[in-house]
Symmetry: C2
Subunit: 164 residues, 2 copies
DNA sequence: AATATATAGTTGCATGATGAAACCAAATTG
DNA sequence: CAATTTGGTTTCATCATGCAACTATATATT
């Protein structure tokens, strides 16, 4: 049984990431975990997802080292929790949440406000920041070739940046 | 013809975002545009995507106001470019790229380095930042209900944050 | 100007992924 | 210890994607 070609073969960090978390439901499952959901039936209810698909997604995330599947005492119902690798996904989820807040808002106002635990102050909107800590617009950023992509750059060298 | 249920009905900013950019190929198309790709045949070659799917994805992005389809002079081949709404996706793409850099690296080193145009200095890794500008760990952040989600919060009030 | 080729799609069909329902064993509850 | 819930697996129908053939228009060549 041949599967859809994965993005895994592409030598691109974005494609690699998508290969792991880009399938339908996966990011919503992760959102739930960030909100404290731990068990199979909770995901099912929260997401209205088919059991078989949920099982496939959870197993994949465990295989990829993003989730840990653990039973408190031997033989009890398993719980899923984020590994450090999984916690590192938070900027992705928050960037997407902020984009939705701005461009697909709820008419009554912001749905969720993410705050710093300690102070209760809202966090900053996710944005691209220069080395010196200045917020940067898309036009102020370009890509340059690193050691990993010596000569295999797929785009014309002159257009590592769009003129938008 | 019934389609897969979209995530559009969920009152969740992340789900809203996924509904627009969460389908297979969409984020890779957007990546290419950020790198300067403009035309149908360029996407085709760069991504090795089927023409019909590419057409569907591009049309959707245009419909959603993320891309603009324009022909320089009347009747010439169209070009696709990012709107401001589309440019706002940059933090999402960069967050995903940085995660891939860290957790699915190329053995020879970083593939691309994103730098500030003006200075040539690499930008900071995307991260969650407090109001005062301090980098925050996942555990230091929690969600609180905004005006948009008055009473309809789907998770138990006590678990707006996972204990990880 | 006429011809050839590339571009930007569209259409129809085969194949892969997802969804719904039935089923089941082990864990938990009463 | 009986009943129910949980955490799945399996099967089959439906939807999405991939592939190849086809087309009309735009661009390049002679």
């Amino acid at each position: 049984m041949m599967k859809y070609k994965s993005f895994d073969h592409m030598d691109c960090s974005l494609a690699q990431t998508l290969d792991v978390i880009g399938e339908r439901w996966t990011l919503l499952i992760l959102r739930d975990i960030f909100f404290g959901v731990k068990r199979f039936s909770q995901f099912e209810k929260s997401l209205d997802i088919a059991k078989n698909i949920l099982a496939v997604r959870l197993n994949r995330l465990v295989d990829e080292g993003i989730l840990l599947k653990q039973s408190s005492n031997e033989g009890s119902h398993p719980e899923y929790k984020l590994t450090d690798k999984g916690l590192d996904l938070q900027p992705i989820l928050l960037s997407m949440t902020h984009w939705g807040d701005k461009h697909k808002p709820n008419s009554k106002g912001q749905r969720l406000i993410f705050v710093e635990n300690r102070t209760g102050q809202p966090i900053r909107t996710m944005s691209v920041v220069s080395k010196e800590g200045k917020k940067l617009n898309p036009r102020e950023v370009k890509a340059t070739l690193g050691p990993g992509l010596s000569d295999t750059w797929p785009f014309e060298p002159t257009i590592c940046q769009s003129d938008f």
